[in-house]
């Protein structure tokens, strides 16, 4: 009798252990829905980009009846956090949109698939080799750039024109920008711009205009606390005058156009990336236009052409070939290009860029014209930021919050940031 009991116990224990194992493995198995390969594809963006992406994906599914694509998107900040959690758990989506800041970290972390292995279905011949190289880490093609973007001053055209303040022009400097936003605030009664102090991107443009960079070639901090204190003193001064948005508005920025002061009708202009600015069209009824970012006082341009985003495939995907087919379709298919327009930046496939250029209309044409106006005038882009930059972007916003809520002086906050950044980059 005792023997039986022990056996029963063992059997049930084994059964339970198996259940636990089965449950644990469920996520990583092949995901098959009705005999189809199911891919997960995630990106960040605005509703305009989402609508066009959904249409493109529907076209892809039509052409590939054996593949079904589950999509999901969110604002950049939320996307960044979610992807980090998924990737660390080995559950990264099959196809994911990546930022320049994420590639280094995810490539060296084994999250991304070597795309050269799928070159039979994923064609890269049409992409400029210099641009293509931005998706390589240690010589391996982990990601492929999807578009080219640059920063812009995006503004409410009607309000600006009606105010009588001269419109922004190419080659304007930061001090000219400052007097414009001051005048706008005077004439229109609302801040002339979003406070750019919280944006590491805007700071980079300002810094490059002074001939410096965020990071050195060896991945160390390329500026000092003095530089940052000067930038924050500049923006904080404008905030105190009411020329740029107040802290209560600035703190709500989360990478979505809806939560910018311009999007809420609480400021006349904003600094943003050119392609995502299409999102303002739906929420700024009076219309928007794009102007170049201000330059340094000697005319040195700070903005640059940057691979606006990349596509990568998860190293743990069960459908590497299908995922590569989707990436190829998004990059190289003329039908897809027609729907996507420049929602992710100017297309990287040269043939597609030339073919679609005359077909672009509305805001897509605005972005294309804007980039054309800067062609040949900008300096070379910096190399991919070191992996700590991903976290530092958030730290930058947090530290500026301390300044704009007047809990720290620009100098104190700048010194804090530099200390934190050095620790982050060291580890």
């Amino acid at each position: 009798m005792p023997g039986h009991r022990t056996k029963g116990f063992c059997a049930s224990a084994v059964a339970l252990a198996l259940c636990a194992l089965a449950a644990g493995c469920g996520g990583s198995g092949e995901s098959v829905g009705g005999g189809k390969a199911v891919l997960r594809y995630t990106w960040w963006g605005n509703p305009d980009r989402a609508e066009r992406t959904e249409k493109t994906v529907a076209l892809f599914e039509k052409q590939h009846p054996d593949i079904s694509v589950q999509t999901s998107f969110s604002g950049y900040d939320a996307y960044k956090q979610k992807l980090a959690v998924q990737a660390s758990g080995g559950d990264a989506p099959d196809v994911m949109q990546l930022d320049y800041r994420q590639i280094d970290q995810y490539a060296s972390g084994g999250v991304l698939l070597d795309l050269a292995k799928q070159k039979t279905v994923l064609r890269t011949a049409g992409i400029d080799s210099g641009l293509l190289a931005t998706g390589r880490v240690d010589g391996v093609q982990y990601a492929i750039p999807q578009g080219r973007g640059t920063e812009t001053v995006v503004y409410d055209v009607k309000t600006w024109k009606d105010s009588g303040v001269p419109l922004p022009r190419a080659g304007w400097t930061w001090s000219q920008w400052a007097s414009s936003v001051r005048e706008l605030a005077d004439k229109t009664g609302k801040p002339g711009a979003t406070d750019p102090g919280q944006s590491e991107d805007a700071f980079e443009v300002w810094l490059r205009g002074r001939g410096k960079a965020l990071y050195t070639r060896s991945g160390e901090l390329g500026f000092t606390a003095d530089d940052l204190a000067r930038w924050w003193t500049f923006t904080d001064g404008l905030r105190r005058e009411g020329a740029v948005s107040p802290a209560e508005q600035t703190t709500q920025l989360d990478g979505s156009v809806e939560n910018t002061p311009l999007g809420r009708g609480k400021a006349v202009s904003d600094t943003n990336w050119d392609a995502p600015s299409s999102g303002y069209l739906a929420i700024v009824p009076t219309g928007i236009a794009l102007a170049p970012m201000p330059s340094g006082s000697d005319g040195t341009p700070g903005q640059y052409f940057k691979p606006s985003m990349f596509l990568g495939v998860s190293a743990h995907t069960g459908h590497a070939k299908e995922a590569a087919q989707l990436v190829d379709f998004l990059l190289n298919d003329p039908g897809a290009a027609k729907i996507l327009g420049v929602t992710r930046g100017i297309p990287v496939n040269e043939t597609i860029r030339t073919d679609t250029a005359p077909l672009l209309k509305d805001f897509d044409k605005t972005v294309a014209d804007y980039q054309a106006s800067l062609e040949g005038k900008l300096k070379d882009p910096p190399q991919a930021p070191p992996s700590g930059d991903n976290a530092l972007q958030t730290t930058f916003q947090r530290d500026y919050d301390q300044v704009s809520y007047e809990r720290m002086t620009p100098r104190e906050a700048a010194e804090n940031y530099v200390t934190e950044a050095k620790a982050e980059l060291r580890s």
Binding site: S12, G109, T251
Partner: protein, 312 residues
């Protein structure tokens, strides 16, 4: 002693059962019944805890293998990280605001319900409902909308959006917790109903008014329940995450004013990918909660009255 003619109850019981099963066999059965829990506790709790203790002495970015750094995470936390200390201060402020407010409200409502003649069941459920809903993300998001600029509170009081004012944002988070007073309320209500009515009658005969009855009968008789709720809610409050995360839109802002301990822990672990540092923070939190609970138990000797101990 010689045995008496009449067998004791125990002897009778032993005589009727055929034979006691060997100790081991009985343990086996116990293990079978315990196995779901044991498996869950060891695989889902103890093992991850052991791993996190190990990771707290390493530098681990989730992707590369952990790298042993000894006590560096702990020294960095205590000596080089001002944001860490800000998050500690924020959490303590939160605990000190949210726990007493929530318990006071729970007690007041429980007292009111106790003396209600009609509709008690309805109100009890109605007040309990937020405890069921409150933990959900959707309610926290609604909360953010209510306290945002242009939201309900702004329109009614003209205060502007609390969630964007560093002086008020933590209060908005605390109020979300206070609003979920239903759980301690139900426990208070059960405690109140246990107090024998004759104690109140005796007090009334002695000429005690309502307030006097509350202080001299209700409070001492309820003190074990009060203590239980206090310990439970304090432990939970130290680990507050969801309300702070949702109400600050995942940022712990403005100006770090809602960056409570677990939010900063999450930020270090999942945003900055410093899992070693985050693990170290988690262990410090565990120790602190342990110490605070021990202190509460120690002070309880002077104010908690257990009727079973009789008159001391």
């Amino acid at each position: 002693m010689t045995t008496t003619a009449i067998p004791t109850a125990r002897e009778r019981a032993e005589a009727t059962t055929p034979k006691r099963r060997p100790q081991r066999e009985r343990e086996g059965a116990a293990w079978v019944f315990l196995s779901p829990w044991v498996l869950g506790a060891s695989v889902l709790t103890l093992l991850p805890m052991a791993v996190s203790l190990y990771l707290s002495f390493t530098d681990y970015n989730l992707f590369d293998p952990p790298h042993w750094v000894g006590l560096r995470n702990y020294t960095q936390m205590f000596t080089e990280d001002p944001r860490y200390w800000r998050s500690v201060l924020t959490t303590v402020t939160y605990v000190v605001i949210a726990v007493p407010l929530q318990l006071a409200l729970a007690l007041v409502v429980a007292l009111a319900l106790k003396s209600m003649k009609r509709g008690k069941a309805f109100y009890r459920s109605a007040f309990y409902a937020p405890s069921l809903l409150g933990a959900s993300m959707s309610i926290a998001l609604v909360w953010r909308a209510v306290f945002n600029d242009g939201g309900t509170v702004d329109n009614l009081l003209g205060t502007g959006g609390w969630v964007n004012q560093p002086g008020w944002s933590l209060l908005a988070v605390a109020l979300l917790t206070v609003w979920q007073f239903g759980a301690p309320m139900v426990i208070f209500l059960a405690g109140l109903q246990q107090i024998p009515a004759e104690l109140y009658e005796a007090a009334a005969v002695d000429g005690a008014g309502r307030w006097r009855q509350f202080l001299s009968v209700t409070v001492p008789m309820l003190s074990p329940v009060l203590f239980f709720n206090l310990v439970l809610q304090t432990i939970q409050a130290f680990q507050v995450f969801t309300p702070a995360f949702a109400v600050s839109a995942g940022k712990g802002g403005p100006a770090d004013s809602t960056l409570v301990y677990t939010m900063y822990l999450y930020d270090r672990g999942f945003v900055a990918s410093h899992m070693g540092y985050a693990s170290a923070m988690a262990w410090v939190l565990l120790l602190v909660i342990g110490v605070v609970t021990a202190v509460l138990f120690r002070t309880s000797r002077s104010w908690v009255f257990y009727a079973s101990e009789g008159d001391r």
